[in-house]
Amino acid sequence: MRSRGQATAIGAVFFVLIVALLLSYLLWAMEQVRDLELEILKRERERVRAQREKLIVTGYEYTAFRVVEPSEVSVPLGSKESLRPLSVVPICLKVSKEVAEKPVFVDDFEEGANGWKYTLIKDFTCYLAECRLLSYWGRGIDGSSIGVAARITIPFSKSYNDQAAAMWSKSFSLRNVSNVNALIVNASYKVTSSFGSRSSGTIIWTLRLITISSDGITTSTTVRHTHRGNEENSGTLVLNATKILKGREPYKVVLRVDIEVRGLKGMPAVYRGLALFDNVAVIMQKLVSQGYSVCRAALEAEYEVPKNAVSGFARITGVFNQSMVLSKVLAFDYSSNVWREITSFVSVREEEFNIITPVAPLEKYTREGKLKVMIVMNSFTPFKLTISDLEINCTQVTDKINVTITNACLEYVKLVSVWIVNSSYVERFDVSEVIAPGEEATVSLDFAPSSGSSYLLRLVTSDGNIFDDYIFIGSEE
């Protein structure tokens, strides 16, 4: 019985030992699992912390500003008055007044008197004889003509003296035509005298071309011919009737004939005379152009712009000594081989102007780095332009790009890589930049971008976070 008790006691001790061993292992295993859980928690915390990183690209600079002075300046129109400072004077041309003529009416009397009215002012006064002043329409100067016929037949005359007068008249108006600055009246005339075979004497013909306005303003021209035998005279009466335009319409044209007979004698005393008018024309002259002087100058400047320039502004500073000079700034378009206006301005006398105008797109106006700008100046009066500045302000793409990066989180961030990528370019830049919370840093990259391209800009931090942004390398359109 006692030995069974001993064996039981020994077994109990072993049993306790085995159970204690198992328990210690269990506790150890639990401790290990807890350690692992703590490790997982630690990694998760680190991951969350890393996710809080935030970098923002707040700017990038890939251009540099450059002022380009002209490599050559010429004055294709006008002349240089001085070189320093550059001053230009124009060429002036005088343009005369321009008028256009328009007939109010032209009568050639081929179909009759055509609205002309005959008035006998004073007839001859001889008695017991035929002395008459008659109206005439028939064969004349150029086909048919109107006129006055003098017929004197005196059976016996020792010396006959007399006077007579008659006229043809016609009214006209300009029918509210504006800008009439002159009125010209023309009339062809012809005077013929024929004495009887046994007659002699002197006949004085006075032909008048008269224009009259309704309120009495009169202009006239006169021609006088003295005949002592069978004679003939012809010509043209030209009257500047502009003065009557100041008067009221309707106006009247008068063809007046005065005949004076001196010492007509003969047995019988016979005289036949004819005063004819033809091609009576009333012509108005309208002013088309007042006539002025044109002063023009052109200044051309050529520049050597950088080949990687993306934009350009022409800057022109100067002063005119005259107002009202219209200036146009042109740039030579190499794609079309024409000069194109890029801006224009009007001068104010003695006041300096400062014109800044874009020359865009720059590719269109440059070839092999050459850019041509011309200033064309127009005025009605002579002027002088004094230039202070004649330059092109260029923005060019540099061989470096500066990227400004802001840390937008509450942790310190270490930037380790910057990538610049597009469909044909990939490059990594090794950087080591620690950026404090809220601070910004500028990273300079040795990279020459192409104009008109866009790139992916990728930032990589030491915690493995990646931030993407895009940059556009502009070319101004």
Binding site: R2, S3, R4, Q6, A7, I10, G11, V13, F14, F15, L17, I18, L21, L22, Y25, W28, A29, Q32, V33, D35, L36, E39, I40, R43, V416, S417, W419, V421, S423, S424, Y425, V426, R428, R458, V460, S462, D463, G464, I466
Partner: protein, 139 residues
């Protein structure tokens, strides 16, 4: 006398048998526990190592029939690439490409001509995986 000795012998035998049996059981349990302890310790260590391993593909692209992958080790242990898959196909195995913590480098692998776009999966020595998209860049 024999009736007096027999009980003693019987008691001693019983004690010996009990001690022997329990000692055997004890030793067997002890050995088993040591084995489990070792395995658990190893598994936990590996798990911790796997947690400490972390890598990132900064950028990957295809050019000239090659796959370029720039990797950075952002973990606390060495980062080793084991296998690389392209569009699900294994293109490299047992790649001896390891990065110490904080370092980055370019992994270049040959790729079939004509590949323009795809997904790359990188399996690490601790069986972590990274997947990225790649596209061709005509430099």
């Amino acid at each position: 006398m024999s009736a007096g000795v027999s009980p003693v012998i019987a008691a001693l035998l019983l004690v010996v048998i009990v001690v022997t049996a329990f000692a055997g059981v004890y030793l067997w349990v002890l050995q088993q526990l040591e084995t489990y302890r070792f395995l658990l310790k190893r598994d936990i260590f590996e798990s911790k190592m796997a947690l400490a391993e972390s890598g990132v593909v900064e950028f990957a692209w295809i050019s000239d029939s090659r796959l370029y992958v720039y990797l950075r080790n952002v973990g606390e242990v060495n980062f080793c690439v084991l296998d690389v898959f392209f569009n699900g196909s294994l293109i490299a195995n047992d790649v001896e490409f390891c990065l110490p913590p904080g370092e980055g480098d370019l992994l270049v692998l040959p790729l079939g001509a004509g590949a323009k776009y795809g997904r790359v999966k990188i399996v690490t020595g601790r069986f972590n995986e990274i997947e990225v998209e790649v596209a061709r860049i005509e430099e």
